[in-house]
């Protein structure tokens, strides 16, 4: 693993290699070198399996952190090793190179990230189509600044017959009315 970490750093400027477990590590790579690094890991280092892709909204730093989790099945006599590649993309202009040519299922993850975070993957098949949010007109719902309550109040009509109570006050009034007096 030390050899891989060193070579990845020398070739693609990766940093912050962290061994979470003997079979799981993570590393940070600049967005501009991400696609090439993933292709190299897949074609040359045995990380042929894409477990999943996802994003984290690090709104405090103004970035989305992409996570690509690859698995080398052959490592350590078939025990395998997983590598989580992180890359930050600017929150104000989230555009990332598509990897649908590297893995056949990647386009679905990219379509999901476009819908859920607003991260664009130009050239990815059907990336602009709805994925799970049919008819959704709000902002990307997985962003940290998406206020789901405000969206719900603004979008859906109030259904009559529903009343909200403050639990503490309600319990006092209903269960211990004499205490109020």
């Amino acid at each position: 693993m030390i050899k891989l970490a060193t070579e990845l750093a020398a070739r693609y400027g990766s940093r912050g290699w962290h061994n979470q477990r003997p079979d799981l590590a993570s590393v940070q790579i600049d967005l501009s070198r991400l696609h090439d690094a993933l292709a190299w890991l897949k074609d040359n280092m045995g990380y042929t399996h894409l477990s999943f892709m996802t994003a984290i909204d690090n709104i405090e730093r103004g970035v989305f952190t992409l996570t690509y989790t690859l698995r080398n099945h052959a490592w350590n006599d078939g025990k395998g090793h997983s590598l989580m590649i992180h890359a930050d993309v600017d929150r104000s202009k989230p555009e990332v190179d598509s990897i649908h040519r590297l893995w056949g299922q990647a386009w679905t993850y990219q379509r999901e990230m476009k819908e859920w975070y607003g991260i664009d993957f130009p050239g990815s098949p059907r990336v602009d189509e709805e994925f799970v949010l049919e008819g959704w007109e709000g902002p990307p719902m997985m962003r940290r600044d998406f206020d789901s309550l405000a969206y719900s109040d603004a979008t859906y009509a109030e259904r009559p017959g529903r009343v909200s109570h403050d639990p503490e006050t309600y319990m006092k009034e209903k269960l211990y009315p004499e205490a109020e007096a």
Partner: protein, 387 residues
């Protein structure tokens, strides 16, 4: 006349079809359709009786679990995680609990390790029993489903005895499991395994030697071995193509390194081979359950003491914990920023690729009557796609 199974590999690129030519029919299969697994739908383009194009549509079960989890305490998420894959809630519970334990540095007692393994194997068997009913039913063999759903109910009886719940168990929690085995439970487990094994012998005779089933399933949905890594295919769908990968063996989590078993693989990689392989894995599960009952310690603690769940903060960090569910690699990616709520929880379900990328390509060139059988042969659960 014996049908010769043909292994046709559908093209990678979608055909450019003129849907206004009058030559094609666009037909929706699902979301409410007896030939669909769960609430998802396929938009099929038909030419005669043959499917020429397909799009998978999901979203009917999207409940925003991953968003909801970011706003709840670590422990409050347990009633949510088990609902991500309804027939197999225990894999969600295990992956989430194991991720939290890893980040919080908690070691669980040995008794809990065995009880978790027992729980996961029991739900694997229950899920396969439901699946085989669907697989036979998709080819018009409804009797099998009536038998195996009854057998599944016997396993659910065991879960009710062990956990109090039939469908959602919330048995695996951080620190261990929620309770020890009740008196007489292990005897009931062994008795139930005997009944199910006998029933599976009948299923094998009636279903797998049935000429109609063989003619329709053999050659259907051939997955070439080079698709396995390209599409991220895992579980029985990969093993039927001859790939010896089973996370129970590879990762060696819980009590699996102490159990005697080998991954089962196939060679032909069609719908028939996949169903044969899953049947063999059902027998394997029964064998593993018997091994667990024989080797599990009879006493000892089953849970570590945890901090107050209302004030439990997990140190900052991230991890990915995976397990081998009935359909392949099931995993939870969990990120903590050091607070009392998750920063991010992402679920990796095998159906994500099996039901979308693989299904859309495999179905091209298939007869419309075989679409349901093909889909069930991939064993997909839409909720884990949508979360």
């Amino acid at each position: 006349m014996k049908k010769q199974a043909q292994h046709i590999v559908p093209p990678a690129e979608r055909a450019n079809l003129d849907l206004d030519s009058g030559k094609y029919l666009v037909m929706w299969q699902g979301p409410n359709h007896p030939g669909i697994t769960g609430n998802m739908s396929l938009r099929l383009v038909i030419e005669g009786d043959t499917v020429v194009d397909c799009e998978t549509h999901v979203g009917y079960l999207h409940r925003g679990f991953e968003k909801l989890m970011e706003r709840r305490l670590w422990m409050q998420n347990f009633p949510l995680v088990c609902r991500i894959a309804v027939p197999e809630p225990d894999f969600n519970e295990y992956c989430y609990a194991a991720a939290l334990e890893e980040l919080a540095g908690i070691q669980i007692p040995d008794k809990a390790v065995w009880l978790r393994t027992l729980s996961l194997e029991m739900i694997r068997l229950a899920s396969f029993l439901m699946w085989i009913g669907g697989q036979a039913g998709a080819f018009g063999h409804g009797t099998i489903g009536q038998w195996t759903v009854t057998m599944r109910d016997y396993v659910l009886d065991l879960f009710e005895e062990l956990t109090g719940g039939r469908i959602y168990h919330m048995f695996i929690i951080p620190g261990g499991v929620r309770g020890d085995v009740p008196p007489g439970f292990l005897k009931h487990v062994l008795e139930t395994m005997d009944i199910i094994q006998k029933n599976l012998d009948d299923v094998e005779l009636v279903m797998f030697h049935n000429v109609v089933y063989k003619m329709r399933a053999q050659g259907l949905g051939y997955i070439p071995p080079d698709w396995i890594d390209h599409y991220g295919i895992t579980g029985p769908n990969a093993r039927a193509a001859g790939v010896t990968r089973d996370l129970r063996k590879d990762l060696g989590y819980l009590a699996y390194p102490r159990l005697d078993f080998q991954p089962i693989t196939g060679t032909v990689s069609d719908a028939y081979e996949r169903s044969r392989l899953r049947l063999a894995e059902m027998y394997q599960s029964i064998d593993l359950i018997r091994q667990i009952v024989a080797n599990m310690p009879s006493d000892g603690p089953f849970r570590e003491k945890l901090p107050n769940p209302l004030y439990w903060k997990i140190p900052a960090g991230e991890t990915y914990v995976a397990a081998e569910c009935t359909r392949g690699e099931y995993g939870f990616y969990v990120v903590s920023d050091g607070s009392d709520k998750p920063r991010r929880v992402a679920v990796r379900g095998p159906s994500y690729t099996h039901a979308v990328s693989v299904m859309e390509r495999l179905v091209r060139g298939v007869n419309i009557a075989d679409v349901a059988g093909l889909m069930v042969s991939l064993h997909t659960y839409p909720p884990e796609v949508e979360r």
